[in-house]
C-alpha cells in the first residue's frame, strides 16, 4: 500500500474512534483540550535527568484509555511507528554526555543515558496524550473548542475545510499514484518531471473544485459570513474533570511520588 493510502486509513480510523460513546467522549471538548495542554506542559517542564518523577504521569493516558473504551492496540501501533524518530533524536545524548551520574551496584550510568530514556518517556507521554485527545474528541470538536477558547474564526474555518476535503483530495491523489504505478512497466519510482506533472494535474483539478465549491455555497445562500452550530455545555462534570486532573498533575509535578512510594515500600519490607 502506498504512503498516501495508509494516510487515508489512519485519519479515517481516528475519526471512527472519535464517534464512539463513553463518559469521556461525552465531555465538552474544551475540558479535554485544556486538560491535555496542562498535562503536556507539566511533562515537558521536567529537567533532562528526571525519570522516576515522570512515571506517575502514565496514569492519565491509562485512565483515559480505560474510561474511553479505546483499544490499546491503536495507541501502541502509533507509538511503535513514531519510536524510530524518537530514538534518532535522543541517541545523541549518550554520545555527548558521558559524565557518570549514578552507580547501581557495579554498573555506572552516565547522564547521557538518563536523559535519553527521559526523552523517550516524554515522547511517549506527550504523543499518547495528543492521540487520545483526538480519539475521544473528533477533529471538528477540537476545532470548535479552539474557536470557543478564542482562536480566530478564519483559522478554525480553515481547519474545518481542510478536514472536510482531506479525504476527497487524498482519494484523488491515491488514484493518480495508482494509475501511474500501473502504467510503469519496470516499477521505478516517480521521477521529478512526472511528479511535477502529476501534482500539477492534481493542483488544477483542486482549483477547479474550489470554484465549484464556492458556486455551490453561493447557490445555498452564502453571502460571506459563516455561522457555526455548536451544541456544547460546560457543566459540573467538565469542571470536576478539568480541575481534578490539573490538581493531580500539579501534585505529581511538585513532588516525586515514585520516590515517596519506593521509600514507604522499603520501610515496610524492612
Amino acid at each position: 500500500m502506498s504512503r498516501i493510502e495508509t494516510a487515508f486509513f489512519e485519519i479515517g480510523s481516528l475519526d471512527t474512534l472519535a464517534n464512539r460513546d463513553s463518559f469521556i467522549h461525552r465531555l465538552d471538548p474544551r475540558a479535554k483540550l485544556v486538560t491535555t495542554l496542562v498535562y503536556i506542559l507539566c511533562v515537558v517542564s521536567f529537567d533532562k535527568y528526571q525519570l522516576s518523577a515522570l512515571l506517575p504521569f502514565l496514569v492519565f493516558p491509562v485512565v483515559l484509555l480505560a474510561a474511553g473504551h479505546l483499544p490499546v492496540n491503536f495507541l501502541l501501533n502509533k507509538l511503535l511507528i513514531i519510536a524510530p524518530f524518537a530514538i534518532l533524536i535522543g541517541i545523541f545524548n549518550p554520545l555527548f554526555d558521558r559524565q557518570i551520574v549514578i552507580h547501581i551496584g557495579s554498573l555506572d550510568i552516565s547522564g547521557g543515558w538518563l536523559s535519553f530514556i527521559s526523552i523517550l518517556l516524554k515522547f511517549t507521554l506527550t504523543i499518547s496524550a495528543a492521540l487520545i485527545l483526538i480519539a475521544t474528541t473528533s477533529f471538528s470538536g477540537v476545532c470548535l473548542a479552539l474557536e470557543k477558547l478564542g482562536a480566530p474564526r478564519v483559522f478554525v474555518l480553515q481547519l474545518l475545510f481542510l478536514h472536510r476535503y482531506l479525504f476527497v483530495l487524498v482519494d484523488e491523489g491515491a488514484r493518480l499514484v495508482r494509475a501511474r504505478a500501473l502504467r510503469s512497466f519496470n516499477g521505478k519510482g516517480t521521477g521529478m518531471t512526472v511528479y511535477g506533472q502529476l501534482v500539477g494535474q492534481l493542483l488544477l483539478r483542486t482549483i477547479d473544485r474550489a470554484q465549484r465549491i464556492h458556486q455551490a455555497m453561493c447557490c445555498r445562500g452564502f453571502s460571506g459570513e459563516i455561522h457555526l452550530l455548536r451544541s456544547f455545555s460546560f457543566g459540573i462534570r467538565e469542571i470536576f474533570f478539568t480541575f481534578g486532573w490539573c490538581t493531580v498533575f500539579i501534585f505529581l509535578r511538585a513532588g516525586n511520588v515514585s520516590q515517596v512510594l519506593g521509600k514507604v515500600l522499603l520501610e515496610l519490607v524492612r
Partner: protein
C-alpha cells in the same frame, strides 16, 4: 524535521506559540478584509491539496532515495503570504494531531519554522523580487529554487535555536548547526526544483492562474506591524544566539586599564554611597556578568580565555531579556514622545 515536544522546554515552546498565535491572528484579520469570498474555500482546498501532495513520494535523481514536497512556497505563490500561512498552519495542525508528527507544544515552533519563513520571507522578499510582474520559465525556476533554499535554511536554523535554547538535547551547537544546515541545503534544493516543476506545469497548462495570483495582492503589505515583527525577531536572534559569539577577551577600556593599573577594573571603595549602591546593584542583578549566578561551578579549565562561542543558557536568556527590555524602553520612550508632540502641536 518537525520538532518534538520531548526536546522543548516550556519557556521556548510558550514563546514560539505566542509568536505563532500572534501571526495567525494577524493573518486571519488580513484574510477577513479580502473582498473576494471565494478565498475561503480556495484556502481550505489548497491546504488539503498540499497535504495530499506531501503523501506522494518522488525519487531524487542520483541518490535513489525518495522525498516529498514541503509546500510552503507553492501555497505562498498561489494564495499570497497571509492565506498561505494559515493554510500551512492548518496542514501542520492536522499532521500533529493525526500523525503525531511533532507534538502539540512543538506545533507552535513547527508552524513558525515551516510557515513563517517561506510565506513572509521567501515569497515576498525573494520570489516576487525575481519574478516581478512577468513570469517567465527561467525566472520562475531560479526564483523557486532560491526562495525554497533560503526558506528551508532559515527554518532549519530555527529548529537548531529552539533545541539548543531548550537545553534538553546534548547536541553541541556547532555540530548541530553544521548537520542541520548541510542536510537542509540538499532538501532545500530538491524542494526548490519540485516547486519549480509544479509551478512551471501550471504556467504551461493554465497561465491565467499565476497571473491572477500575482496581481491579486495589494502592494501596501509592508505595514508597520511587519517591520516591527521583523525587528523583534532580529533582536531575539542577535541577543539570543549571536551573544554567544561575543568575544570573551577584554574590551578596549578594560585593556587600557589593565595596562595602566595592572587590573581590569577599578577597585571600588568599601564604604560610603558607592558601596551602598554597589550592594543594591549586586542584589538586583540576577544576570550579573551576563550569566546566571552559578551556585556550584562545574570544575573545568580555570583561567585564561573561556571556550568560544560561550554557549550558555544564561547568556542567551540575558541577551533575549536585554533585547526585550530595550525594546520596551524604546516603545515607552516613543509613546512618551508621541504624546508630547501631540500636545505641543495643538
Amino acid at each position: 524535521m518537525h520538532m518534538a515536544d520531548a526536546l522543548l522546554s516550556p519557556a521556548v515552546g510558550g514563546t514560539m506559540w505566542a509568536a505563532t498565535a500572534g501571526t495567525i491572528a494577524y493573518c486571519s484579520r488580513q484574510v477577513k478584509k479580502e473582498p473576494d469570498d471565494s478565498r475561503v474555500p480556495l484556502m481550505g482546498v489548497l491546504a488539503a491539496f498540499i497535504f495530499a501532495a506531501q503523501m506522494i513520494n518522488f525519487t531524487i535523481p542520483g541518490t535513489g532515495s525518495s522525498g516529498h514536497l514541503g509546500g510552503g512556497m507553492i501555497l505562498a505563490i498561489l494564495l499570497g503570504p497571509e492565506a498561505a500561512f494559515l493554510a500551512m498552519a492548518s496542514v501542520l495542525t492536522v499532521q500533529a494531531l493525526f500523525f503525531a508528527d511533532g507534538g502539540l507544544l512543538a506545533l507552535g515552533c513547527n508552524i513558525f519554522n515551516l510557515g513563517f519563513f517561506p510565506c513572509f520571507i521567501g515569497y515576498p522578499l525573494i520570489y516576487r523580487k525575481i519574478v516581478g510582474a512577468s513570469p517567465s520559465e527561467k525566472r520562475i525556476f531560479s526564483a523557486a529554487l532560491i526562495s525554497a533554499l533560503i526558506g528551508l535554511q532559515l527554518g532549519a536554523f530555527g529548529v537548531v535555536l529552539e533545541t539548543v535554547t531548550s537545553g534538553i538535547s546534548e547536541l553541541p551547537f556547532k555540530t548541530f548547526v553544521l548537520l542541520m544546515q548541510s542536510i537542509h541545503l540538499a532538501i532545500g534544493t530538491v524542494e526548490g526544483l519540485v516547486t519549480a516543476a509544479v509551478v512551471l506545469f501550471v504556467l504551461k497548462a493554465r497561465p491565467e492562474i499565476l497571473q491572477y495570483a500575482a496581481t491579486d495582492h495589494t502592494y501596501g503589505w509592508l505595514s508597520m506591524n511587519k517591520v516591527l515583527t521583523g525587528l523583534l525577531v532580529a533582536t531575539l536572534v542577535t541577543g539570543g544566539a549571536l551573544s554567544w559569539f561575543a568575544s570573551t577577551r577584554p574590551d578596549g577600556l578594560e585593556w587600557a586599564l589593565s595596562e595602566v593599573t595592572g587590573r581590569q577594573e577599578v577597585a571600588a571603595p568599601g564604604h560610603g554611597i558607592q558601596a551602598l549602591l554597589a550592594g543594591i546593584q549586586n542584589k538586583s542583578a540576577f544576570l550579573s556578568g551576563y550569566e546566571f549566578a552559578q551556585a556550584e561551578k562545574v570544575s573545568g579549565p580555570e583561567g585564561g580565555a573561556e571556550d568560544w562561542p560561550a554557549v550558555d543558557a544564561g547568556t542567551t536568556v540575558s541577551g533575549m531579556v536585554g533585547g526585550f527590555i530595550t525594546l520596551a524602553l524604546a516603545a515607552a520612550i516613543g509613546l512618551l514622545l508621541k504624546r508630547r508632540t501631540r500636545i505641543e502641536a495643538t
